[in-house]
């Protein structure tokens, strides 16, 4: 017992010592974007600027909630998130500092917060992924509303608890209203649409032949194809403006409580540099948002995707309603 007590003490002391090492000049980044996708970019930033970045990776919504909990005493300097709803949550809590206009002006206005508290860094389009061996894209409906038709019964996978699906539902509330959104969700539920925990599981299920169609973000399929080029999945972009074709940005904001505003700004600028934007195009298969940086050739140009008029800053204000509607429709 004595030896164990000594061991426990040593462990405790080391643990505290290790965790105290976070200070210095370096930045602390909360990243809702996956380490596999963004760590190479962060390493490049450190190489170029000499600024060390310590990253905490977790889900975007979880980090947004953590930041809200931490308030003004957060150890984080920068929040890099997958979706506007998470960024909006933190912005609504008054925790993000406004970005300078020279940063905001690099990206089209519709991809940033209307009050300039966060800026979009890369675009992610909502698409229909389908099994090309089972479905003729000409038979797909004009908008997501068509999938409540009985002919699609049990064939369309959705991820009702996933952040990007909830962002899409939030956008649908803002565009079509609460009633229409609830009717659509109920239609999908009544149509026995298979539910998945996340986008990637839907894309995998389409490629495995479990389901024929799924509502997802565009890039998962491209990444899967990069590993296994023979997969039968294909992406379909709606041809009319609808929440189901919305391009939503991943984005970044600086914590108002950070005492490293200058370094943090450098990091945000780095994410909008040509180098980073090209990285998003070629490595993560997202849309670069800075004009003149070409997207992957496998994708239709960003300008050709019809987009409904939605203020993305408002998504977070209807997030709880979106979850309520999803639950009310019986999808939760």
């Amino acid at each position: 017992m004595k030896r164990l007590a000594v061991l426990a003490l040593v462990v405790a002391v080391t643990a505290v010592a290790c965790s105290a090492g976070g200070g210095g000049d370096g930045l602390t980044l909360y990243s809702g974007r996956s380490e596999d996708l963004v760590q190479p970019l962060i390493d490049r930033f450190t190489e170029e600027t000499g600024i060390e970045v310590t990253v905490k990776y977790a889900g975007s919504a979880d980090l947004a909630a953590t930041l809200s909990e931490e308030g003004t005493g957060s150890p984080a300097d920068v929040f890099f998130a997958q979706d506007p709803a998470s960024l909006g949550t933190v912005a609504l809590a008054g925790l993000l500092s406004p970005l300078p206009t020279d940063v905001l002006s690099k990206v089209p206005e519709r991809f940033s917060d209307s009050q300039g508290r966060w800026v979009g860094t890369s675009g992610r389009a909502r698409v229909v992924v389908y099994d090309s061996t089972a479905i003729d894209p000409g038979d797909l409906p004009e908008t997501e509303d068509g999938f409540t038709d009985p002919q699609w019964r049990g064939r369309v996978g959705i991820a009702p608890t996933n952040g990007s699906f909830l962002s899409f539902v939030s956008a649908k509330i803002l565009v079509d209203g609460e009633d229409a959104t609830l009717r659509w969700l109920e239609g999908m539920a009544n149509n026995a649409s298979p539910t998945f925990p996340k986008n990637s599981a839907i894309v995998a299920a389409v490629n495995d032949g479990q389901i024929e169609v799924g509502l997802v973000n565009h890039y998962y399929l491209l990444r899967a194809l990069a590993e296994s080029p023979d997969l039968p999945g294909a992406n379909y972009f709606f041809e009319v403006a609808t929440p189901g074709s919305l391009v939503m940005p991943a984005g970044v904001g600086i914590l108002a409580s950070s005492d490293k505003q200058e370094s943090a700004k450098k990091f945000v600028e780095f994410l909008l540099s040509d180098e980073s934007q090209s990285y998003f195009a070629t490595e993560t298969f997202e849309y670069p948002l800075v004009p003149d940086i070409p997207a992957s050739e496998l994708l239709p140009p960003l300008e050709t995707i019809p987009t409904p008029d939605v203020d993305l800053s408002m998504l977070a204000t209807v997030l709880d309603t979106a979850t309520d509607l999803v639950a009310q429709a019986g999808l939760l």
């Binding site: 905490k56 979880d62 296994s228």
Partner: protein, 545 residues
């Protein structure tokens, strides 16, 4: 010993009726205060924030009450109960059968089976689910290799299979240790009186194993109840899925907290049920003086037993490893990046070691209290231990974030707090194994030590602790292995820059980067093999004292 945590205590079958059962020599004396302090050092820092979280939910919002009072919630409770029941039943059947075959028959290659049969313990349930999903169906690996199409393994069957595989090792390991404590003379007597092997198993062996099986089954049931990874990938609508969805899908946290309280009530019913069915029988151990006569399997029996072991081990360990290897190979051929993160290996080892050390340290006073000073309050102590084991990890993590941010800022996001959370969440595994060991320690030895002038602390350190050390280490090994698989608390509570293999698997799989996910999963399995080797090859030394 009517509490759920006793493991390897063996029912008194023959002789010495009325003899003092093991572990009551201190009855009547009140427990020294420092034992309580020790018992609460891990439990309190995590249990208190959880209580705070629940109190916060007392001012629940309308949304929370709407969520709670819906028909849907009732359905989910029923579904979670159903899943827990079928998983526990099959995990118990597999675990007990395996333990009996290995301990009491002349099955061939026992040493190999010993480790292979325990191996599923190290494969995270979400990796199993991922593998099963991709191996079945018309385009699955199985169909590719054999031309035979297996139906897609999803929903209840999928969740049942993945969780049965994940949890049966608990039943197996604990039962295997207990079975060795049974005096073979009883079986031989029964057989000599003409009982068939089945009858011997049913009427002589099984009743003596009742406490061990109960403890293993309880761990399996509560693990199933708190699991999120497998049920969500298998698309089985269990309670945890809704709790996670409510946490991530809204700014208002109270609906998720209220649902967590319901979940802990379900767990209480299960814990209570295990206590009730155990009854009031007194258990204590007899010394085993010689090895048992092994039951000779007939030819067909040998084939049947070997195939059954092979099927379970194949599904639980060999197929998953083969599929993971095939993903890595496929990725390497396609030129994918397979680089593995050594810092994640370091992180996993650090996390596992801290968790195991803290859990073992906390388990000592808890089991001494539970065994030597059993009372109403020690039973509540043990219920607390099992309660934390049954909560979804996200609930505990959120409770601790909220608490440490407000009240213990300097240790917020420190490895110390992360280690305490792991230790508290998995403490039930450590106390189960340690308690088993302590029950085997004859209290008369402690009395002798005290009567010879040693103080109580010196007695525990010099006499009790060395005798229970091996059981304690086995418990530490279980905590180590389980910590390596943990994800939600790791994500929320780890210091910035800290990463583990489980986090790497999650991140890569989420982006459909199967090559990297598989490489990390194989590393995780490799790192966990050491403690499993210790638990399985040498269970006689590890779980027996």
């Amino acid at each position: 010993m009517t509490d759920p945590a006793s493991v390897v205590d063996v029912e008194l079958i023959a002789g010495t009726p009325g003899a003092a059962p093991g572990g009551v020599s201190d009855a009547g004396r009140s427990a020294p205060w420092w034992l309580w302090v020790g018992a609460l050092t891990v439990l309190l820092p995590v249990g208190l924030p959880v209580l705070f979280l629940f109190l916060r939910a007392a001012g629940a919002t309308d949304a929370a009450w709407d969520t709670l009072m819906s028909i849907r919630t009732v359905q989910l409770v029923a579904r979670s109960f159903l899943l827990t029941a079928v998983v526990t039943a099959s995990a118990t059947a597999v675990g007990v059968t395996g333990a009996w075959l290995l301990a009491r028959t002349d099955l061939s290659f026992k040493r190999v089976w010993g480790i292979v049969f325990a191996m599923p313990l190290v494969v995270p349930s979400y990796v199993l689910a991922m593998v099963f999903i991709s191996a079945t169906g018309p385009r699955g690996l199985f169909a590719d290799m054999t031309g035979i199409t297996l139906p897609h393994l999803i929903g209840l069957p999928g969740a049942w299979l993945a969780l049965t595989i994940t949890t049966y090792p608990y039943v197996y390991l604990i039962t295997a240790a207990a079975i060795r404590k049974i005096d073979p003379a009883l079986e031989e007597a029964a057989r000599g009186l003409g009982a068939t092997p089945t009858r011997v198993f049913r009427t002589v062996i099984l009743p003596q194993l009742r406490p061990a099986i109960g403890a293993g089954a309880l761990l399996a049931a509560l693990y199933t109840l708190s699991d999120f990874g497998a049920v969500s990938l298998m698309r089985f609508d269990a309670f945890t899925r809704v709790i996670y969805a409510q946490y991530s899908g809204r700014l208002d946290r109270t609906p998720a907290i209220v649902l967590s309280i319901v979940l802990i009530l379900i767990a209480s019913v299960i814990i209570w049920g295990e206590q009730r069915t155990r009854g009031k029988g007194k258990y204590f151990s007899r010394s085993v003086t010689r090895p048992p006569t092994l039951y000779r399997l007939t030819g067909p029996q040998r084939i049947a037993a070997t195939s059954a072991m092979a099927i379970v081990a194949g599904i639980g360990a060999i197929i998953p490893v083969a599929v993971l290897v095939s993903w890595v190979v496929r990725g390497v051929r396609a030129g994918s990046d397979t680089s593995v993160s050594w810092s994640a290996v370091g992180g996993s080892l650090t996390a596992g070691t801290i968790a195991a050390a803290l859990a073992m340290a906390a388990a000592i006073p808890i089991v001494i209290l539970a065994v030597r000073f059993a009372s109403r309050s020690t039973r509540w102590l043990e219920r607390g231990v099992f309660g934390l084991f049954s909560l979804p990890h996200i609930t505990i993590a959120i409770a601790v974030v909220a608490f440490t941010v407000r009240y213990t800022r300097p240790v917020y996001q420190s490895l110390l707090v992360l280690g305490l959370v792991y230790a508290a969440m998995f403490l039930a595994q450590a106390t189960s194994a340690a308690k088993a060991a302590l029950i085997q320690v004859n209290p008369a030895l402690e009395d002798a030590s005290r009567s010879l002038g040693r103080g109580p602390i010196a007695t525990y350190v010099k006499v009790t602790f060395p005798l229970m050390a091996k059981g304690l280490l086995a418990g530490g090994a279980l905590v180590f292995v389980t910590t390596l698989k943990e994800l939600p608390a790791t994500l929320l509570l780890s210091p910035p820059g800290f990463t583990t293999l489980a986090v790497r698997i999650w991140a890569a799989a989420d982006e459909l980067l199967y090559t990297r996910a598989a490489a990390s999963a194989l590393l995780l399995i490799a790192v966990s093999i050491v403690p499993v080797y210790y638990l399985s090859i040498k269970p006689k030394d590890a779980l027996d004292t």
